[in-house]
C-alpha cells in the first residue's frame, strides 16, 4: 500500500491539484457520485474558498463549484499541488 499524505482538504485557497484517488473506505455510491461530480482520477480541482470553523470548502471542478465537508474532502487524495 502506498502512503497517501495529501488530500483535497490540505490544499490552500486558490491552489489547484490533480485528483489521484478516492479512499476505498468510501461507500460505493458516494465515490461514484464524486466521480460523476468531477472528482475523478486526473481531474484538476481548485480550492476557491475556505470557510471558518472548518466549514465546508468550495472546490471548482471543470465548469461547476461544489462545497464539500471535511469528512469527504479528506478522503479525496491528490497527486500534486501546484
Amino acid at each position: 500500500m502506498t502512503v497517501k499524505t495529501s488530500s483535497l482538504w490540505d490544499i490552500a485557497e486558490k491552489q489547484t491539484a490533480l485528483i489521484e484517488d478516492l479512499d476505498h473506505s468510501l461507500e460505493i455510491c458516494l465515490s461514484t457520485r464524486l466521480k460523476e461530480t468531477g472528482f475523478d482520477f486526473g481531474q484538476s480541482v481548485t480550492c476557491l474558498k475556505k470557510l471558518p470553523l472548518n466549514g465546508p470548502r468550495l472546490y471548482q471542478v471543470a465548469d461547476s463549484v461544489f462545497s464539500i465537508e471535511k469528512s469527504v474532502a479528506e478522503k479525496i487524495y491528490i497527486k500534486e499541488a501546484k
Binding site: L30, T32, K35, P52, G55, D63, E69
Partner: protein, 603 residues
C-alpha cells in the same frame, strides 16, 4: 393522451421551462432541489411531467432512488412519447453527465430524447455556440433556448409536438454512454465544443469572496436576516393600518345601515371583529413571502446554508436544514417538503420535527397583536432600529434557538449509528431576482393563506360568537354559554395569569393558530355591545392584561404546535403517526411550562 417527461440536472431550468410550456406556476428557485414532487401540466394536447432534478442515474439517497425508479417506471409507459432533458449551458459538462445517461436510458426504452440547451441568454458571445456541432456529437435533437427570455421556446414547442408524433424517427443515434462512460464522454464533448466554460463562474467566485468571507460574510448574514424581520414589521405597517381603517369604516357603515339586533350584532362582532382582525395581517405574510423569494432566487440561500453548516452540525443538523427552516418562517407545510434537500435521513427527521418551531406566518397575527399592545412604538440605537421590529426579531430567534436545543437533545438521544449521507452542495450562480414573478408569488401565497385559513377562521368565530352571544345577547358575555365552558377550563389557564376568554381562544386555536386573534376579536365585540369597533390591541390594553401574562402567551404561541395540517404533513413526511403526535404533545407541554416560567419570573 401522449406525455413527455422533463428530466435534467438540478437547477438547470426544468421547472421554468415547464411553466413556459404549460402556463402553470410550478416553483422555480435558484438552488438545486427546488422541485421535490412530480408536477403535471398540459402543453396543447401533450402532457408534460416535471421531475425533481438528479445528478446521476446511480442513486446516492433514498429520494434519488425513488426519482430514478420513477424514470424507469414512466419510460415503460406507452403514453410517454419522448423525454426532454434540459442542459444548463453555463454548467454544460455537469449537465451532460446526466444528459448522456438519460439518453442511454431513453434509448434502452426506445424513446427519443430532446435536449433543451437552456440559459443561452447567459452566453457572452452567442456566435461561439455551434448547435449543429453539439447535435451531431450527441446524436439526438437539440434546441438552444432561454426559458427566461423565451428565445427559442416557440420553436422548441413545435419541435416537441413534431417529435412526439413520430417518435421512432428521432431515436438516439450513435454510441450510448451510460454510468461512468458518460463522465468521460461529457468531458470530451465540452472540450470539442470549446465554450470556455470557466468564464461563467468568475463572477460568482468574486461575489462569494464577499458573502462567504470569514468576517464580512458573517456580518452580511446577520444583516440580511435582521433586515428580513425588521421589514416584516416596518414595511407592512402602513398597509396594515390601511386595511384596519377600511375594515373599521366598512363595519361602521354596514352595521349602521342595518336595523339593530342579532344580524347586525353578528356581522359586527364575528365578521368585522373576528375575521377582520385576522385580515389585517395579510400584508406581513406577503412581505415575508416576497423576501424569502428574493433569497431563494438570488442564490444567497445556498450560501446561507453553507455558513450555517458547521454551527448547525453541533446541534445535529445539516447546513441544508437552513433551507426548510427559512421557508418555515412562512409556513411549515412547504417547509417540510423542502426538507427533502437534506440527504441524511437522521438530520432530515430532526429538521422535520423542529420545523414547527420556526415562527410561521400564522403566528404573526398573535405576535403582532401583543407587540402592538405592549411594546411602545419607539426607535432605538440612535433611531436606526424599531423597537417593535426588534421584538419580532427576538421572537423569531427564540423559536430558532428552541429548535436548535430540541435538535441537540434529539440527536443525542437517538444515537443509533445510521449511514449518514455527507454534505455536498452545488453552488448556483448569483442571479438578479426577477421582480414581477416574485411579487406575483408573494401575492399568490397571501391569497392562498387567506383563502385557506378564511373558512376555518370564519366557522370558528361564528361558533364562538353563537356560544358567547346566547342565551342573553350582547353585553352579557359573563353569563353566556361560552363563559360557562371557559370557567370550567380556567384552572388550566389561571397560572398563566389569563382569564377564560384567552383560554377559549387558545383552545380554539389548536385547530389553527390564526384563529386566536379572530376569537378574541369576536369576544371583545360581543362584550363591548354597541361600542364602536376599537382595535383589538387597544381593547387588550384597556382590559388590564399584565405584561407578564402577555409575554407568557407569546412564549406559548412561539412553541405550541397548533396546526392540524402541520401534524398531518409531519406524519406524511416522517412516515410515522407516532412521531407526529408525540411532537404535537411534546410541544404543547413544553409551551405551557415555558409560558408558566416566563409568567412567574416576570411577575
Amino acid at each position: 393522451m401522449s406525455s413527455i417527461l422533463i428530466l435534467g440536472k438540478p437547477n438547470s431550468g426544468k421547472s421554468l421551462l415547464f411553466n413556459r410550456l404549460t402556463g402553470l406556476k410550478q416553483k422555480v428557485a435558484n438552488f438545486p432541489g427546488a422541485t421535490v414532487e412530480l408536477k403535471r401540466g398540459m402543453c396543447g394536447t401533450l402532457e408534460l411531467i416535471d421531475f425533481p432534478g438528479v445528478y446521476s442515474l446511480t442513486a446516492m439517497t433514498k429520494d434519488e432512488e425513488i426519482a430514478i425508479a420513477g424514470f424507469h417506471q414512466s419510460l415503460k409507459d406507452e403514453k410517454i412519447k419522448s423525454v426532454i432533458c434540459t442542459l444548463d449551458i453555463t454548467r454544460l459538462e455537469r449537465s451532460l453527465v446526466f444528459g448522456l445517461q438519460a439518453q442511454a436510458l431513453a434509448s434502452e426504452y426506445k424513446k427519443p430524447i430532446i435536449f433543451a440547451l437552456n440559459m443561452i441568454d447567459e452566453l457572452p458571445q452567442k456566435s461561439e455556440l455551434s448547435v449543429e456541432k453539439l447535435t451531431k456529437l450527441l446524436g439526438s435533437p437539440l434546441y438552444a433556448l432561454s426559458a427566461k427570455t423565451l428565445e427559442g421556446v416557440d420553436e422548441f414547442k413545435k419541435a416537441i409536438v413534431k417529435i412526439s408524433n413520430s417518435p421512432n424517427d428521432y431515436l438516439p443515434q450513435g454510441e450510448m454512454y451510460s454510468k461512468q462512460k458518460a463522465v468521460v464522454r461529457a468531458r470530451e464533448v465540452v472540450k470539442e465544443l470549446d465554450l470556455g466554460g470557466v468564464f461563467f463562474i468568475k463572477n460568482q467566485t468574486q461575489i462569494d469572496k464577499f458573502f462567504l468571507h470569514s468576517f464580512v460574510g458573517g456580518i452580511a448574514f446577520f444583516l440580511i436576516m435582521g433586515l428580513l424581520f425588521q421589514s416584516i414589521f416596518t414595511w407592512a405597517s402602513p398597509l396594515m393600518d390601511l386595511i384596519e381603517e377600511v375594515i373599521g369604516q366598512l363595519g361602521v357603515f354596514v352595521t349602521s345601515s342595518l336595523p339593530a339586533g342579532i344580524v347586525s350584532d353578528f356581522i359586527n362582532d364575528a365578521l368585522f371583529g373576528g375575521f377582520g382582525s385576522f385580515l389585517v395581517f395579510a400584508p406581513q405574510i406577503m412581505i415575508l413571502s416576497f423576501i424569502i423569494g428574493l433569497l431563494e432566487d438570488s442564490g444567497y440561500l445556498v450560501r446561507a446554508a453553507l455558513i450555517c453548516h458547521r454551527p448547525f452540525s453541533y446541534f445535529g443538523l445539516s447546513g441544508k436544514s437552513f433551507i426548510p427552516y427559512l421557508s418555515g418562517f412562512a409556513c411549515s407545510i412547504p417547509a417540510m417538503m423542502a426538507a427533502r434537500v437534506i440527504e441524511s435521513p437522521k438530520k432530515r427527521l430532526i429538521t422535520l420535527i423542529t420545523i414547527p418551531l420556526m415562527s410561521c406566518s400564522a403566528r404573526l397575527p398573535v405576535y403582532a397583536l401583543f407587540i402592538s399592545a405592549f411594546v411602545p412604538e419607539e426607535k432605538v440605537f440612535y433611531g436606526l432600529l424599531d423597537l417593535r421590529g426588534l421584538s419580532f426579531f427576538a421572537l423569531y430567534i427564540f423559536g430558532l434557538l428552541t429548535a436548535l436545543v430540541v435538535s441537540a437533545v434529539l440527536s443525542r438521544v437517538n444515537k443509533k449509528e445510521v449511514m449518514d449521507a455527507p454534505f455536498i452542495l452545488e453552488l448556483p450562480p448569483y442571479r438578479l431576482p426577477a421582480f414581477k414573478p416574485l411579487a406575483m408569488r408573494a401575492l399568490h401565497a397571501t391569497k392562498s393563506f387567506v383563502v385557506k385559513a378564511g373558512p376555518v377562521i370564519f366557522s370558528v368565530t361564528a361558533i364562538v360568537w353563537v356560544l358567547s352571544y346566547f342565551p342573553y345577547g350582547a353585553g352579557k358575555l359573563e353569563s353566556s354559554w361560552l363563559s360557562q365552558i371557559g370557567h370550567f377550563l380556567s384552572p388550566l389557564f389561571q397560572p398563566l395569569g389569563i382569564d377564560w376568554r384567552y383560554g377559549v381562544a387558545i383552545l380554539a386555536s389548536f385547530l389553527a393558530r390564526e384563529v386566536f386573534v379572530g376569537v378574541l376579536g369576536t369576544l371583545y365585540g360581543v362584550e363591548g355591545a354597541d361600542e364602536n369597533i376599537a382595535s383589538l390591541a387597544q381593547n387588550i390594553q384597556a382590559d388590564g392584561l399584565t405584561f407578564a401574562s402577555a409575554m407568557a402567551l407569546l412564549v406559548f404561541y412561539a412553541i405550541a404546535l397548533q396546526c392540524i395540517s402541520t401534524v398531518a404533513m409531519l406524519k406524511k413526511e416522517s412516515g410515522s403517526s407516532k412521531i407526529a403526535w408525540m411532537t404535537f404533545l411534546g410541544y404543547s407541554v413544553l409551551a405551557y411550562f415555558l409560558g408558566l416560567i416566563v409568567k412567574i419570573s416576570l411577575s
